[in-house]
Amino acid sequence: MALSMKIQASSLIAGQRRVRPMTGRRAVVIKAALELKAPPYALDALEPHMSKQTLEFHWGKHHRAYVDNMNKQIAGTPLDGKSLEEVVLASWNGGSPTPVFNNAAQVWNHTFFWESMKPNGGGAPTGKLAEAIVRDFGSFEKFKEEFKSAGLTQFGSGWAWLNADKSGQLSLSKTPNAVTPVVEGKTPILTVDVWEHAYYIDVQNRRPDYLTTFIEKLINWDVVAERYAAAQK
């Protein structure tokens, strides 16, 4: 079953070309090793809401390891040279994910997460997105409660998501470990990481505090609105 995957332009990972030398008469085989994309802000820019130390480990170690491990896994295989989105879909393997999925999906999820935040974020959405939130959740307050609840009730590691369909209908979902709604045929427009490594340095076990801070101080509603508009094209 072919699942279409909305490629969010802002979350494409730039490929870096690694050229193998010519041997004899064989053609040069060019493969793209996928790169770790930096967040669109400095690692200390989300302070005091998310510490520089968290970003240094979460992006600099965890996210980087997912990229490195994925590249090692796909080198020399048919997935080598494919885009990140193609690797995620292929390794999802119709619901029986291969070991590549654990890394590839996490590469995608984390880039989507960094881009869901900004310094001096939070506040409230405006325009069509704000209207849709009121329509589909009852109120912005109700949306915030339910989004927080999704993050709190994802037991173990995982993610909470706000998704939009082609008609502009909004829905919440939560996924375990590396799973992303993209493989479920959904189009996410906002995510929050609830793996413990996302918040343990800053608030230890207090996941509720982390989620409140994310919602009130970090969400980049401009990006979410752009993604919302793109989802309906």
């Binding site: 037991f155 590691s157 230890q204």
Partner: protein, 223 residues
């Protein structure tokens, strides 16, 4: 006078009867058999305190809450509600069971002793050496995706030890194996000290494994 005394005492006993709505008594957070800092430098006191007084305590509180709600639903005959509570009972009940075992599986480094007797013999028979057992255990446990545990379990049917990883807080008992030794690899178990380097935590923890407790559990399983 005797009758009045008997009546008063009977009334007291009646009032002391547990409410029939809750057949399972309240689960309690066990005390650690050592101070929070006793496992240093291998597991920090800060981690032990958070792990026990926040994480395990939350599993206990949430388990009790879910069991209370289940009892109420049972009293009302609300089967749907009972079913919706099973997730919370499994998460929190498993969390309680697992951590209850875990605290006893650890010992301060000054009291560490390697395995002996039957346990040592079984490990050597199956893995050639303790070191090889540990490498095998660590490789499997490090590979747990997301949150979970690595377990050494006893198979009553085959009489053999098995290494098996379980996701989230799923207790080993659901596989039929008897839990002997569990290593928690939820990030909360090591993050403040080892950060993303789970393999370093897994190397360190073998300095504080209570092999005597593991042997006691094995002996009990064989009865």
């Amino acid at each position: 006078m005797l009758a009045r005394g008997l009546l008063a005492s009977a009334r007291e006993n009646f009032n002391a009867l547990p409410r029939m709505s809750r057949l399972l008594s309240t689960v309690k957070l066990p005390d650690l058999p050592y101070d929070y800092g006793a496992l240093e430098p291998y597991i920090s006191g800060q981690i032990m305190e958070l792990h026990h007084s926040k994480h395990h305590a939350a599993y206990v509180a949430n388990l009790n809450k879910a069991l209370e709600q289940q009892a109420e639903a049972e009293a009302k005959g609300d089967v749907s509600k009972i079913i919706t509570l099973q997730g919370a009972i499994k998460f929190n009940g498993g969390g309680h069971i697992n951590h209850d075992i875990f605290w006893t599986n650890l010992v301060p480094p000054k009291d560490f002793e390697p395995p002996t007797g039957e346990l040592e013999a079984l490990i050597k028979a199956q893995w050639k050496s303790l070191d090889n057992f540990i490498s095998t255990f660590n490789a499997q446990t490090a590979a747990v995706q997301g949150s979970g545990w690595g377990w050494l379990g006893y198979n009553k049917g085959t009489g053999r030890l098995e290494i098996i990883a379980m996701p989230n807080q799923d207790p080993l008992s659901i596989t039929g194996l008897v839990p002997l030794l569990g290593v928690d690899v939820w990030e909360h178990a090591y993050y403040l000290q080892y950060k993303n380097v789970r393999p370093d935590y897994l190397k360190a923890i073998w300095n504080v494994v209570n092999w005597k407790n593991v042997a006691d559990r094995l002996a009990a399983a064989k009865k």
